[in-house]
Symmetry: D3
Subunit: 281 residues, 6 copies
Amino acid sequence: MFKHTRALQFNAKPDRPDPLMARKLQEALGGQWGEMTGMMSYLSQGWASTGDEKYKDILLDTGTEEIAHVEMISTMIAYLLEDTPIYEQEEMIKKDPSLAKVMGGTDPEHGLVHGLTAGLTNPNGAAWNTGYVTSSGNLLADMRFNVTSGNLLADMRFNVTRESQARVQVSRLYHMTRDEGVRDMLKFLLARETQHQLQFIKAQEELEERYGVVVPGNMNDIQHSEYSHVIMNFSDGEGSRAFENQIAKDGQMFTYQENPEAMGEVPKTKPASSELHNDQG
Amino acid sequence: MFKHTRALQFNAKPDRPDPLMARKLQEALGGQWGEMTGMMSYLSQGWASTGDEKYKDILLDTGTEEIAHVEMISTMIAYLLEDTPIYEQEEMIKKDPSLAKVMGGTDPEHGLVHGLTAGLTNPNGAAWNTGYVTSSGNLLADMRFNVTSGNLLADMRFNVTRESQARVQVSRLYHMTRDEGVRDMLKFLLARETQHQLQFIKAQEELEERYGVVVPGNMNDIQHSEYSHVIMNFSDGEGSRAFENQIAKDGQMFTYQENPEAMGEVPKTKPASSELHNDQG
Amino acid sequence: MFKHTRALQFNAKPDRPDPLMARKLQEALGGQWGEMTGMMSYLSQGWASTGDEKYKDILLDTGTEEIAHVEMISTMIAYLLEDTPIYEQEEMIKKDPSLAKVMGGTDPEHGLVHGLTAGLTNPNGAAWNTGYVTSSGNLLADMRFNVTSGNLLADMRFNVTRESQARVQVSRLYHMTRDEGVRDMLKFLLARETQHQLQFIKAQEELEERYGVVVPGNMNDIQHSEYSHVIMNFSDGEGSRAFENQIAKDGQMFTYQENPEAMGEVPKTKPASSELHNDQG
Amino acid sequence: MFKHTRALQFNAKPDRPDPLMARKLQEALGGQWGEMTGMMSYLSQGWASTGDEKYKDILLDTGTEEIAHVEMISTMIAYLLEDTPIYEQEEMIKKDPSLAKVMGGTDPEHGLVHGLTAGLTNPNGAAWNTGYVTSSGNLLADMRFNVTSGNLLADMRFNVTRESQARVQVSRLYHMTRDEGVRDMLKFLLARETQHQLQFIKAQEELEERYGVVVPGNMNDIQHSEYSHVIMNFSDGEGSRAFENQIAKDGQMFTYQENPEAMGEVPKTKPASSELHNDQG
Amino acid sequence: MFKHTRALQFNAKPDRPDPLMARKLQEALGGQWGEMTGMMSYLSQGWASTGDEKYKDILLDTGTEEIAHVEMISTMIAYLLEDTPIYEQEEMIKKDPSLAKVMGGTDPEHGLVHGLTAGLTNPNGAAWNTGYVTSSGNLLADMRFNVTSGNLLADMRFNVTRESQARVQVSRLYHMTRDEGVRDMLKFLLARETQHQLQFIKAQEELEERYGVVVPGNMNDIQHSEYSHVIMNFSDGEGSRAFENQIAKDGQMFTYQENPEAMGEVPKTKPASSELHNDQG
Amino acid sequence: MFKHTRALQFNAKPDRPDPLMARKLQEALGGQWGEMTGMMSYLSQGWASTGDEKYKDILLDTGTEEIAHVEMISTMIAYLLEDTPIYEQEEMIKKDPSLAKVMGGTDPEHGLVHGLTAGLTNPNGAAWNTGYVTSSGNLLADMRFNVTSGNLLADMRFNVTRESQARVQVSRLYHMTRDEGVRDMLKFLLARETQHQLQFIKAQEELEERYGVVVPGNMNDIQHSEYSHVIMNFSDGEGSRAFENQIAKDGQMFTYQENPEAMGEVPKTKPASSELHNDQG
């Protein structure tokens, strides 16, 4: 269960309106790697977690914080859209041609659909969807197959990725504006994404130590291991040879196959048999 | 440019048809973390890469291999669908009630739309889409902002995640069947996903060493660093306190904030001004 | 900003597992009218609201409650999936044919992707997306055009609809199970959806009284009013004539047009002019 | 079955081309609340209706009219796109910088994909989809559960919402242009949306009178009624207290809970049991 | 403008309910190649057409007919869903195990969302969307570039494809049932799809005769014609050599390139320049 | 299995950067009819094909070539985005107002998400998805129903359509730029699309000769043939009468029905029976 405080977690007020920046900030709200993705992934993973309380709790803490980030960015976007001219302004444009840039570059749905507030989309207006979310479940203690360590570690790796991609985008957004109010909020998000990267990396390393670095840990005897450390060269670039004879994180050595051959057959699926249908009238 | 060999990279032939398993294998083909996602992410990243030849090449090698995996799984699905009764079989059902299970559980579009071959969807028939793909670009040598190291490392982390999530799902698929032909192919995929995890982890570690562990590396002086190593406790679980005073991978120590307070204001966006529109007729 | 309590708002524990019911409950979680839609619509509307504190607050209260409902239903689904056989069970099926029903009717992604926990989809596995959400903005005090009353009232009407559609579906779900644990949770949701319907109806009526029943209120002098109270009969059914001479909620009388005629021209858009392009080489 | 008249229902011809306005009008055609949504919702509801002829007929009348609105807006968009320069016009831009605005703000797919005619998308090019449509079925006479009144009333509420959201957007579109031809069509749509709001409100009120205001009407004895009239205060705003002791539309009084407590348990789903799988080889 | 007749274009009544067949028929309603796709493609093309009245009219005639087909299939699905047990029926299942098949194979949203009527989706519940529709515009008389013939012919080819794919699926549906009522409707659809294939083929042939077989007709002098009749052999199959020296429909002869070489350079995009950003603070 | 050559199939280098043209080229990459659609349709059809080696091979050859086209266009887009100013450039804009056009018209995700390289979307940022792909299966030798000829021919017709729509769009793109580097690549694509149209037309004609022109060929005795050659006039246009008495490609004559009547009943689906549910508690 949740409770809401009206005050924001951190400042989210620009020095002045800027509808183009509002559009760009939609990426941090409703893009593939935006705050909605963090919020729903961490909450879902936290609710699904049945294992170590430590990991369950940090997932729920962080997921709950992300709702506040969704709130902050939504607020910032609304401030940035204040005074945006959504109605026709022919005479004003003649006086100030920079309005033309705004007319061409603003998201028309900001005014038309959302009344100059944030939508839950990316800057191109694509609806955020849960195809961006990852939560692979509660099989934590499935000791027989130990699929476990796999899925929790796999989700932690997703979370590190989410925070990394998001911090790259927030960095790019930072350089796209000089508004000190916008930058103030972005500096806070940068810091929190540092923390979230580091905490999930910490969890990831603990899990790697416990279950092994390859996810999931218990399938290594089952796989066709003769292909598990081979760099296969399917293109004419020479760069990947640099990995040859290097030691992989699991302690084994990479080999290099210059010219990997097809080992399977040419497939021969048969046409659908007509005999099957001989009771049709 | 690409060339195609008709023989498969590895065996992809089941011992016998099984349309329910065919449906499940669609996850490895057209699901969020399936082979289509690997193929288009690595190829896109490889084509976008302008930096170290080593990384560009391993991306293109691996992306090219993934097309072969798309081919293998498509072939396997077509074999598994052979002889599936898509037409009404009332009398046959009476003789063999297990056909009823097939009737209820088979993807109806396998027969109706794809003529008993694979579709490019997940097991629930959701179309694969490029919202699953990640490729964050060629800013590799952007020395001033060094956004660089960030985006290449962020993409490598995505790739490790892709291979981890995929290997968890392939492990689950392995346990969902006893067909030795299907298992043979899955054992090969497990091995290749081991290799791909390890090679991307290797690249990731090299990049972390060069640019720092927090992505992107050059924003640490800009961020509000007083919040960059603080575990904030937004839920009443006590588990996340376990991280307190631990050393993060960047060498600094995590602190713990039991009761994080709202530091921002209550937002007061103003209603859209009517003055703006005073030239309307 | 938000805080999370680990205890659920209300009981969400079934008497026994039932993976088919788990699948059906996905509608209440990630369907068009499910709790995700309520949560993100009310929070977005609340954050966008600049007007009467009363409405802003009830939107934020209710949006925050809906996060707890997302949590409850996610938990219930995980409980219902406990012990679901996702791996092949040929011998068990022979002993208990009802497992065949489960095999055919269960969402394969529950096991394969989510490790027997909830996904953020509907029962057919379609990803929830923000195309289901409505929030039309902060133009509340736009006195000149008074678009205002319109959009807040329009959003309240959406909210009443959301709670009505959701309560119809929860009622249907109630009759689809006899599990007293599941029913206990549904009885609570039914009650809350009563409250939410009634509170939004209350707000809606107040706004209708203030601004008029037709949304938005200030365009009535602009519209072509000769067509604003005419039932036009475009089909050969006779039922709609029953509205003739009845008094509409704005106090005017409906008229009936038996055979509405086309009043516009036959369109004659011209082909794209080739003159425009005469500087092409 | 349908017949088509080439003449439009009403005028749909602008005074002059305007490709930016063409893009904005896409909202009224292929947006979430555009005419496609009205058309397919009302037709689907009408075809599904088994009950009172009066409601079935007005749904089919209105759905049929909406096809004509889709036609009118498609025609208007094609007129507005006439003469749009989709080919490179460097020298023309030098003479008339306003072309630059057009180049930046026009939907590139209008020229490239649709040859300067309408697409079935919103202004950001998102494909219209049936996730926007609502039609909840024919259970009208299901007397035992009386789910009935619920779903028809719920659909009528959706229809009132559709017409309200659409009229807000058409009002905004009206103020975004001064073209008298465009405005003429919008004035007609405003009038029809008045009629459609009023007719669906009429139907809604009749149904509320017959079955009660809370949808569906027959679950009130089943729900946990102690929570059905309680305003729960989950945020620190004080506004929602204004509803306290007010009379809800069903005649009961709202109470106010200042600090709602979690009434459920902390969930303890168990990890997936490994015993289940002990027949794996 | 449109008018609606309540009587259906043709019979659409099954001999008995069959909810699995109802699910499969969704393909013909809301699948990629279903009637919605025909309806919206032909209407859009007809409204966009500015050229030969003959083609404009047949597009509008056929598009209007397709609305009636949407109506017929929606009706058939509702009939097929009559009496479907959507509520729990434990005791009935014990008496009739075939109900178990229905429970597993029925679309759960048919009951839960649509109250036992049709949804606008495919059998896997994927929402129909306008990404399936094609309408390429009104450049018919663009004589200078003659892009014209191209786009009208390209659309006619799409229409022939639509009717062909749809008729394949309707044929498959025909064999999936023995219900004479369902088959009666399908026999009618098969006939109409014959007519629609033949009429669009007729139009296609006339346009090919007028503008040439390669679309669009006027770019043949611009293209790099040395590559315009070469079968390039990118795979190790030998089958495509069979086209060698055959005469293409434009009268020229195909040649065969056994081993096509890469003619382009290795791409060398440069990293984003940092100089660009030297005004950042 | 596939191998990759780093050199491109053909030149893909512009004379100078142009981020607006980069955006437009996204249509040829990730639009409905772009190269991704060709690639995945032909490969899927080739893998599914069980029949004539000739057709299987040309599908795989062409599908493999299309991967190279995806590569070329991705490369071209990255070149066109070189030096695009994604960071704020207020002073530079003052010096060169044409930058304002770029700011408004560029895809913001090109810089923000993809670091100035291609995304797998259309110019409006809509994710490419497999709902654009067609592959109808391997029923080639299904002699009894001969559904066969149908689906292979239907897919060939799709392929001809794909190449036609794509060539129309590439022609439009050609006229949207004067950059000789871009045009050089487009001239090559135009030539290849000529070849692909002609080869698929050849295959289509052979299949028509073998199985008949109406797809699928073996349902003609089953359909209600009295409706299979009738032009039905559902609109008041007179154009379609021009087909009357013309000979269709199957040798039969079209007739014309001026005023087609509804032949079906008014549907009377019954409300869901309440008796079914009488075991509810």
